[in-house]
Amino acid sequence: MAIARRQFDAVVVGAGGSGLRAALQLAECNLKVAVLSKVFPTRSHTVAAQGGVSASLGNEEADNWHWHMYDTVKGSDYLGDQDAIEFMCRKACDAVIELEHYGMPFDRLDNGKIYQRPFGGHTSNYGEREIKRACAAADRTGHAMLHTLYQRNVRARTQFFVEWMALDLIRNQQGDVLGVVALEMETGEVMILQAKATLLATGGAGRIFSASTNAFINTGDGLGMAARAGIPLEDMEFWQFHPTGVAGAGVLITEGVRGEGGFLLNKDGERFMERYAPTVKDLASRDVVSRAMATEIKEGRGAGKDGEYILLKLDHLGADVIDKRLPGIREIAKKFANVDPVTDPIPVVPTCHYQMGGIPTNVHGQAVMPDGSGGERVVKGLYAAGECACVSVHGANRLGTNSLLDLLVFGKSAGEQVVRDIAADVAAMPDLPADAADRTMARLSRLDAASSSGERVSDVGAAMRRAMQAHCGVFRFPDSMAEGVKKILEVAERARHTCIQDKSKVFNTARVEALELDNLVEVALSTMISANARQESRGAHDRSDFPNRDDANWMKHTLWFKEGNRLEYKPVQLKPMTVATFEPKARVY
């Protein structure tokens, strides 16, 4: 069967902040751009970002990019590439001001300049004291950013393919990327979108964990596509967790609850933080609290039927304090945990929030991989930006407000690189290999042909999420990780035998979810296998058997290849572009 085909200068997969920022760069240069998105662009997960975007504007107090760079390098626990971090922090002010000129409704000071507020980890003068660096639009910064960028793209006549899911990359014999095979959900038809440049901007894949703040759409589609096409995934063992998400739901309970006097209990009603942090108790830092919670659960002192969660008690504060000082908490607890915290504790669990790893790229958004002789080469035609990319500016741990900055700076620089590459390479569209869509069609046919006795997508997905949460969560135990590798390999095998009952074409959510599971499984495999191999604790990767950072052996990036679940490593770029290296120190706040 002949598959319909269309040609573009560039295809952008994903219409969140980074995809929109990149697409804008391309459309404004009059390139023919197609942006594919599973959902309407302004419903991308960027909408959930509340905190702000950091830039050393110095509107509130003296600041400069070098201090921001220091904070980011330190935050990354020295796994971030210092050249990329310098690149990002230097460009932050321009990125924010550009957005302001696009009409982004930033909060303002009385003098008319953009208001800035403090945010954890951002300091003045290399860690001396807290600084006001985060620019925000009330608590809707991501929402405002998406709308601003979307409107600007409409103005530039970017062509959107809404409710399209990209399924696979097309690569030729030389390994160049020539576009994607994609599914139009409304019709169930498959199409080849051929392009000189393919830019992945598919966001994170936090849905691999059972406790996740990520929206359902965050299934790592770009990561799955890259992995299946033979492109490695970098530093996938690093995921940021928040200590208190509602168990079974993922919705965050603000840390303000503990600030106001709420505390954590295990199933025996013990206030266990007294054992782990006798002085500050429940107000200990995020990683200390998360680790203590994970230990209680691992050692069988979790509450609930399967001992899977911890209890957050705040009834002793009284209804008045809860309503006045913690607005919204009661509604969240009632809606998502089915408890009223005025009388009952909220079940909570450490909850995955952000993915630091991703598709390896340079600062120009070009995908890079080992060249086989110790160096690195660009994958011609492939680019990535935002949470699905690993530049790496976040290293082992992302600093708050740097995620929105990342997608602005690298969305734009990837767009600029695509424009340069297309201008330099005026040759006609490269030929597609004859088998361009074969692998994808085989995957789809298998699903359509599978008898209903196969594996249910929801069962395999649940097994994956349970395995990741139990064996590769916020605190990692050696016996448990070995067991986790076994389980996730089993999950991957089961995922090859999924079936769907509904074989219809039009808006078949079951088919989409089966295809999303294929992507999630690649992410889960890469995470589990990379984590099991890294024998140290660094940033968000926290192991009970290797509690310390080991710079001598492990200051290097992991590269996971799907084929054979093989791992390689590459050095961290310690040398910035123009300034001196920030030498690794203990990360203490």
Binding site: R43, T46, V47, F216, K335
Partner: protein, 77 residues
């Protein structure tokens, strides 16, 4: 039925809270909604995530009276 299939997909949102609340609502009520209620639900789904969540969580009143009944069902789910 394809209209209801389309609606199911339009319950995929940028905010996790909406994913959870809409999934629950759709599982319990979608098949039983009448034609008018379906139209109102579609209208609600066309709102931006933050505006819709504010309405569903009761932090904002329905934008107009015609939304109130289905919104009340959503809030109660």
């Amino acid at each position: 039925m394809s209209d209801r299939d389309r609606i199911r997909w339009h319950c995929r949102r940028g905010l996790l809270e909406l994913d959870l609340l809409l999934e629950r609502f759709v599982t319990r009520h979608l098949d039983a909604l009448n034609v008018h209620q379906i139209d109102v639900f579609k209208e609600l789904l066309a709102y931006e995530d933050n505006d819709l969540l504010d309405m569903v969580m009761g932090r904002a009143e329905p934008v107009h009276e015609g939304l109130a009944d289905v919104l009340a069902m959503l809030r109660a789910t």
